[in-house]
Amino acid sequence: MNPSAKGNFITRNHPYVFLGGSLIALLGLSLLYGEAHPLSFLTGNAPELLCRLILWAFLALSAVALVFKLFRGKSYRTCFLCREPMLTVSRLASYLVVLVCVLVFADRGIMQLIYTVQVCMEAKSNPQGFVPSMIYMSLKGKDMLLTGIWTTVRIALLGTAIAFVLAILMVFLRIQEPDKRDNDFVKALKWTANRFARFYIFVIRGTPMMVQALIFYYFGFNLFKRTGMTVTEINSVWSFFISGLCTVSLNSTAYLTEVLRGGIQAIDRGQTEAARSLGMSNWQSMIKVVFPQAVKNSIPAIGNEFIINIKDSSVLSVIGVMDLMYATKSVSGIYFRSLEIYCVAALLYLILTWLSSLLLRYLGKKLDTPVKGIPSSN
């Protein structure tokens, strides 16, 4: 029987049953021969032995199949292993293997993790093992990390939103080109607007955000100091959070301006020409026809900027913004372990960006715009 015949994945015979099944069986066995733990339910002779037996038996069967394949070459397809009832038997056997492995994973994987968490919760000091230490520090530093996550999300979200509004203004400056029919004043104005936007984008894109953060922070700080405020007063107005938010907003403005400009350029020239031919001014055709289309097409890129901001806002910890990065550093300082907690931070960032991209994909589908994966940094 042809292995790719009708039926769904479960009821159908498929090729590579032995290869796939034995890989899964090997994984299961490696877990099964690992150390048992007090919460384990697959202990004692009966269940554990039975599981091992089933997995080994399947491996043995696969080995036989392998030998057959090697010796019979092309004619393997016609031997008893590739005919009914062996086809169905091997398929059902592979399901049994999967079932056993799921059990083993629940026992040695999930229950093990639960046990480790329990141990860590009661531990008096940072445990030695890598994973236990990760869990221990995450649990102890839970409040700090959660506050950090919340700050990171707020900065990324607000920053991108503010940047979007500013970028809409900025892109209007950026796309100004003096026209032959303008008077000299308008020409000068357009030229200035265009050069200003270009210069802004040039500077922001050409410098690291960490440096920008430091400059904004101290610039604001010195400015408020001039007015005679005390340091505590300044810190309440020009807080780390506020200056960090400004940094992200102003930084993203430059990138989003370029995104929007690209969106505008991608709109067919015929759209503007049709609008102009009906007597609409340059401004009217921009606002009513080109811009709505450009923004809609830019939505995926704006979402990407949000994800980039989740990651890149980590540099704000340099000015003391208590984001996830800052929280991680603090936890590491308290418990004297670095690698473990930074791995936790990586995991948390990954979860944040992954969830965001899922959300964006969902929104993109609703709005009927194309989407991309997790973007690289600016």
Partner: protein, 249 residues
């Protein structure tokens, strides 16, 4: 002779070193239907685009409504309202549905109240036979329907003259007719029209005058009978005979 709506004098246009229009003189009278024919690359589209300043000509005059469009101080937007343009690629506003395509310009440019603009839009859409598509998404229409919406959209600005740049070239042969029929109706109602076209049958049947352009100059113009029946210029004869051969193949 009727009053002259549009008068072009010695119009010249180059793209870089490529001279596309080499001194065009052309008069369009009120109610007249003028078809411009000629080989590809002869500058027909450029001429049409220069008339409403989508391209800026280098030299010459375009007299319309008592003003020279080449004068840098004219109010272009005001004058363009009176010159309707229909493009080969339709250029419907993709972010608007059919009726909003038609009402956008009257409402933003002439500040017509919405109700009145919609009434005019419905009337013009009915004229082009699209009464049932008023609220359709403009990106989902067939080519012929799109082009008819484009014509209705231009009509909503109540233009004094309509320019058509190969309005049927992007259409499947079966639906060319529906657009040409709309244009015939327009012509019958006395609209002044300048039509760049490769539809010789249409030019023969509908136009009052046929203009033959070749390499940036107007080589010959006259009634359709003169141009198609007894062309004086060798180039015209060559073009038309080649055209007929193509048609027969």
């Amino acid at each position: 002779m009727d009053e002259c709506v549009l008068k072009i004098e010695q119009l010249e246009k180059s793209f870089g070193s490529l001279e596309v229009l080499k001194g065009i003189d052309l008069e369009i009278h009120k109610g007249e239907v003028v078809c411009i024919i000629g080989a590809s690359g002869s500058g027909k589209s450029t001429l049409l685009r220069c008339i409403n300043l989508l391209e800026e000509a280098d030299a010459g005059h375009i007299w319309f409504d008592g003003q020279d469009l080449m004068d840098l101080s004219v109010d272009l937007n005001a004058l363009r309202q009176k010159i309707g343009m229909v493009f080969q690629s339709f250029n419907l506003f993709n972010n608007k549905n059919v009726i909003d395509n038609c009402t956008l310009a009257p409402m933003t440019v002439r500040k017509v109240p919405r109700a009145q603009a919609e009434e005019a839009a419905v009337r013009n859409l009915t004229t082009v036979g699209l009464k049932d598509f008023i609220y359709a998404d403009s990106t989902r229409l067939s080519g012929g329907q799109k082009q008819r919406v484009a014509i209705a959209r231009a009509l909503c600005m109540e233009p004094e003259i309509m320019l058509f740049d190969e309005p049927t070239s992007a259409l499947d042969p079966e639906i060319v007719g529906e657009v040409l029929d709309v244009m015939k109706d327009l012509a019958a109602q006395g609209m002044t029209m300048v039509v760049v076209t490769h539809e010789m049958a249409f030019a023969k049947e509908v136009s009052d005058r046929v203009v033959f352009m070749d390499q940036g100059v107007i080589l010959e113009q006259g009634s359709p009978r003169e141009i198609f029946g007894s062309p004086k210029n060798d180039r015209t004869r060559e073009f038309l005979s080649r055209y007929l051969e193509d048609k027969q193949q």
